[in-house]
């Protein structure tokens, strides 16, 4: 009964499924996410029960209340404070002053020395500096599940530019931003958009047949990862010439990781399956360095947020299983430098700063809260900021 098509199909499905890699730190991330979900459920239940009490009360008192009466302010469910359940490893860290970069805690945005509340219901995912303002992506309760792309000024003015869901990047001048998006109809189309934040207008757009995630902006254009294929090949979109150039295919077996330096002049591309990578100084240019290391394959969190690449060819990446942020040089050899991060935490974001060597945003497993650590050299980190249970903290990235 089994036709050759069915047999080929079974073979090919097995072949494709084998191409996926391991997900280091998955259990820790799931546990952290479950605690956040549970906390949100508890808050929702408390809010619903509080609302029910108010509704019952209003119904009971009947006409005694006028139409203009307002509900009492929402109360927070009592919950253990972060310090009450802080793990021993976090508790032992010395406390420092708040981070010397822009950041958002919950809805409270600390930008350029000013503090503003973002709109109600927003959960910010990314924060980037764009000239004299900041650009964020945030979950805003959109029924399609898309993220809003918005600019925020130092005065706290928020302008929603569009909806994304597939990455965000700022050009080297800070004037232009780019994001990826997808239509929500039955046959979705995928789009890259370039936007001028000074004139508040779309400058260029490119429709694709495959989904692509914007991961950065090199001097040649917008870097996007073609994540439709299992290789996740990086491409560069030049918005002015409207050209797409495929940059590097890696082994084609696993997802590709791309990071670019703060000057936007150097990139490192890593094939996560093979642990091999190259450093490029321009698209189509000579390879500045290349190498392979098994040490980059599994124990590291290779995400754009949990890593950074410097102009001196040093790549910092977070290791979940080894509880450290390790430094690799351009040849992808381990330099041996490591910043230990507390056991029982998962690194979510790494940001280089001038004040301290590294800022590391971690999620505590036992207290289920985000913490920002400042780490200098190989010494222990300082705890600079403690978020509350279930709260989102985002640092401004380079």
């Amino acid at each position: 009964m089994t036709s050759s098509l069915e047999s080929r199909l079974a073979d090919e499905l097995r072949h494709e499924a084998e191409r996926v890699g391991e997900l280091p730190g998955l259990a820790e991330r799931v546990v952290a996410r479950a605690h956040v979900v549970r906390r949100r459920r508890a808050l929702t239940a408390a809010a619903v029960s509080g609302l029910a009490v108010v509704v019952l009360f209003v119904a009971f008192v009947g006409g005694g209340l006028s139409n203009t009466s307002t509900l009492p302010p929402a109360h927070k469910t009592p919950h253990p404070s972060a310090s009450a359940t802080l793990s021993e490893s976090l508790r032992q860290l010395p406390q420092g002053t708040p981070p010397d970069v822009d950041y958002i805690v919950g809805r409270q945005a600390h930008l350029g020395g000013s503090t503003h509340m973002l709109p109600s219901g927003w959960i910010v995912q990314r924060l980037l500096r764009a000239g004299d303002r900041w650009v964020v992506t945030a979950q805003v309760g959109d029924p399609e599940g898309r993220e809003a792309v918005a600019t925020v000024t130092k005065q706290g003015d928020v302008v929603v530019l569009g909806y994304a869901g597939a990455g965000l990047a700022v050009d080297p001048s800070g004037r232009y931003i780019a994001w990826g998006s997808a239509s929500s109809d039955a046959s979705p189309t995928y789009r890259l958009t370039e936007y001028d934040v000074t004139t508040n207008s779309v400058v260029a757009g490119r429709t694709l047949g495959q989904p692509a995630r914007v991961v950065g902006w090199a001097k040649e254009g917008v870097i996007a990862l073609n994540n439709a294929g299992s290789g996740g090949s990086p491409v560069v979109w030049d918005p002015q010439a409207d050209t797409l150039t495929k940059v590097w295919g890696g082994s084609g077996a696993g997802p590709t990781f791309v990071a670019y330096s703060r000057s936007h002049h150097l990139w490192v591309l890593l094939d996560q399956k093979s642990g091999c990578g190259v450093v490029l100084s321009r698209v189509g240019g000579t390879v500045a360095a290349k190498g392979c290391t098994n040490r980059l394959k599994d124990p590291y969190t290779l995400t754009p947020l949990a890593s950074f690449f410097a102009d001196d060819h040093l790549l910092a990446v977070a290791s979940v299983s080894m509880h450290s942020v390790r430094i690799f040089d351009a040849q992808l050899a381990d330099t041996g430098d490591a910043h230990p991060i507390p056991a029982g935490t998962v690194a979510l974001q790494i940001v280089p700063t001038t004040g301290v060597h590294l800022l590391v945003l971690v999620m505590g497993i036992s207290d289920r809260s985000p913490h920002v650590l400042g780490c200098v050299g190989n010494g222990p980190c300082e705890r600079l900021l403690d978020g509350s249970l279930g709260e989102q903290v985002v640092l401004a990235g380079p």
Partner: protein, 177 residues
């Protein structure tokens, strides 16, 4: 959940994830056709499993529970989510000779599979990758075995048609050159 149950979960859950996550990620990838979405789908299913731990009495059924959650989540939410399917325009050719290019001939079905409607693709993955019987697929998808049979039939017919078109086109182009 009792303290004993929590303690058992704290030990057993990471062990389960460590042992089975790669296979489950493979299924998630075949369902979604996209690495990022697959990871998200698996994380969502594992999170739901972790939260439902106290209600899953049979530890041997954990993997089935995660798989069912993945399928239910994927099929029910696909309309609301950003998804990587139905390629209609390809990105530029690689400047790098991928080692997998040798298997291009063999890999021709997969792009067509990714273009199938979500339920048909789920049926194909469960039938030809997970090797599940029709009755089990019907239970997982919440439909009748007859529906599973007809979805599989349509999916195979579509694949045959598209593969046939492709072969004919290649033959025509090859003959012209």
């Amino acid at each position: 959940m009792s303290r004993e149950s929590q303690s058992e979960r704290d030990e057993a859950f990471p062990a389960f994830v460590g042992a089975r996550s790669r296979a489950l990620l493979g299924t998630a990838y075949l369902l979604t056709g996209d690495h990022g979405l697959a990871e998200d789908l698996l994380q969502t299913a594992l999170t739901k499993t972790y939260l439902a731990w106290g209600r899953i009495r049979d530890r041997d059924a954990l993997e089935a529970y995660v798989r069912q959650t993945m399928i239910t989540t994927h099929v029910s939410s696909w309309r609301r989510r950003w998804r990587g399917e139905t390629p209609t325009e390809t990105l530029p050719e690689s400047t790098y000779d991928s080692p997998t290019s040798a298997s291009d001939e063999r890999a021709r079905i997969y792009p067509h599979l990714r273009a199938l409607p979500v339920r048909q693709r789920a049926v194909v993955v469960l039938r030809y990758y997970e090797d599940l019987p029709e009755a089990e697929i019907a239970r997982l998808l919440g439909c009748s075995p007859g529906t599973v049979k007809s979805q599989a039939h349509r999916a195979l017919a579509t694949l045959r048609e598209r593969l046939g078109d492709e072969t004919e086109r290649e033959l025509t182009q090859g003959g012209a050159s």
